[in-house]
């Protein structure tokens, strides 16, 4: 299991490094691209945990879907990537205090929790298991997700048609 430990640290470094680039980069498209490595690294983590389906879903939905939206959104922003973003520090003191507080809380929680260490079990048929659970124990959440997706479609359609409506040339002055 030496190798899997090595891979874990490799991907951990990849995730942290690309996340740092994402936060600190002044070019917003660089940030979006770095986010791709963060999300893909998380997928590798899931694969290391034998959660193949979750890993691939992470790739499909986050890297292949949400990140495309982010990239498009970034490129749509007026001049957002035209010039470098002016990253300057504002509200230094409150921000420092706040992040210190959060850091202390997280560390105390981390140290005081009794972590349950379970040995990794190689579960081969994850997909079938997920399929059965979705249709039995998690039926209600599953259907709620369906309704949620329907709402998302309706929302996207409304957004699309409204933006298109604004784009039409003014007729009053013509």
């Amino acid at each position: 299991m030496e190798l899997s430990a090595f891979l874990f640290y490799f991907f951990a470094l990849l995730i942290i490094g690309s996340a740092a680039i994402m936060v600190f980069s002044k070019n917003i498209v660089h940030s979006a691209f770095a986010l791709m490595f963060t999300l893909a690294g998380l997928a590798a983590f899931y694969a290391l945990l034998y959660a193949g389906f979750v890993a691939v879903t992470q790739l499909l939905v986050y890297v292949g879907g949400i990140l495309v939206i982010v990239l498009f959104g970034v490129m749509l922003t007026t001049r957002g990537y035209f010039e470098k973003i002016k990253t300057r520090t504002v509200h230094l003191l409150p921000a420092a205090l706040f992040s210190m507080a959060i850091a202390i809380i997280l560390i105390t929680v981390f140290l005081s929790t009794e972590w349950i260490l379970a040995p990794l079990e190689e579960e081969v048929f994850t997909v079938q298991g997920i399929g059965e659970l979705l249709m039995t124990d998690y039926m209600l959440p599953f259907q709620v997700v369906g309704v949620l997706l329907l709402l998302a479609i309706i929302g996207a359609v409304l957004m699309a048609t409204r933006v298109a409506g604004e784009e039409e040339p003014p007729s009053a002055s013509g």
Binding site: A55, T77, I130, G131, L134, V145, L149, T161
Partner: protein, 165 residues
């Protein structure tokens, strides 16, 4: 099972290393004599006007949004598709209901024409009495104050500024 993902990872590594090595070797072999003309962005022989990094059609964004919603649906189809024959009628029809829900959303989207890529109204400059030829989104001065965005003349002016920088 971890080994199976390991193979995938190795293939990924081979792919990346292979391209990197190819590009590196090519970098050692080829000449490098840049000149301002060579390094200019291609625009059919003209001096490039402005940057290509502009706002573009919002419909790309809507496509991506719709894609995400359907992608989640497709991913949820797969686990069910592997086991549906061993399940009771209840689970079977629950999935059909789920798919139908999405399909209704899809029909709604088709009806509203959210993904219509057909040509919009042509937006051509027009002639206004006393002003001259104006862009399609031009408005008389009295109306400009109400518009949230910047007036038309200003926007094009700032684009040209950045181009000359």
């Amino acid at each position: 099972m971890l080994a199976e993902y390991g193979y995938v990872l190795m293939f990924l590594a081979i792919g990346c290393v292979f391209t990197a090595v190819t590009l590196l070797v090519a970098g050692l072999l080829r000449p490098n004599r840049p000149s301002p003309e060579k390094l200019m962005t291609y625009e059919c022989g003209e001096e490039p006007v402005g940057s290509a990094w502009i706002q573009y059609n919002h419909r790309f964004y809507v496509i991506a949004l719709m894609f995400l919603v359907f992608e989640v649906e497709v991913v949820l189809l797969f686990p069910w598709a592997t086991v549906f024959q061993d399940m009771g009628w209840y689970a079977f029809w629950a999935m059909i209901v789920f798919v139908s829900l999405i399909f209704i959303g899809f029909l709604y989207e088709l009806g509203k024409g959210a993904l219509q890529w057909d040509k919009p109204q042509p937006q051509i400059p027009r002639y206004v009495e006393g002003v001259g030829v104006v862009p399609h989104h031009w408005k008389p001065e009295s109306e400009v104050a109400d518009v949230v965005g910047q007036p038309a003349a200003n926007v094009s002016g700032s684009t040209q500024d950045t181009a000359t920088e």
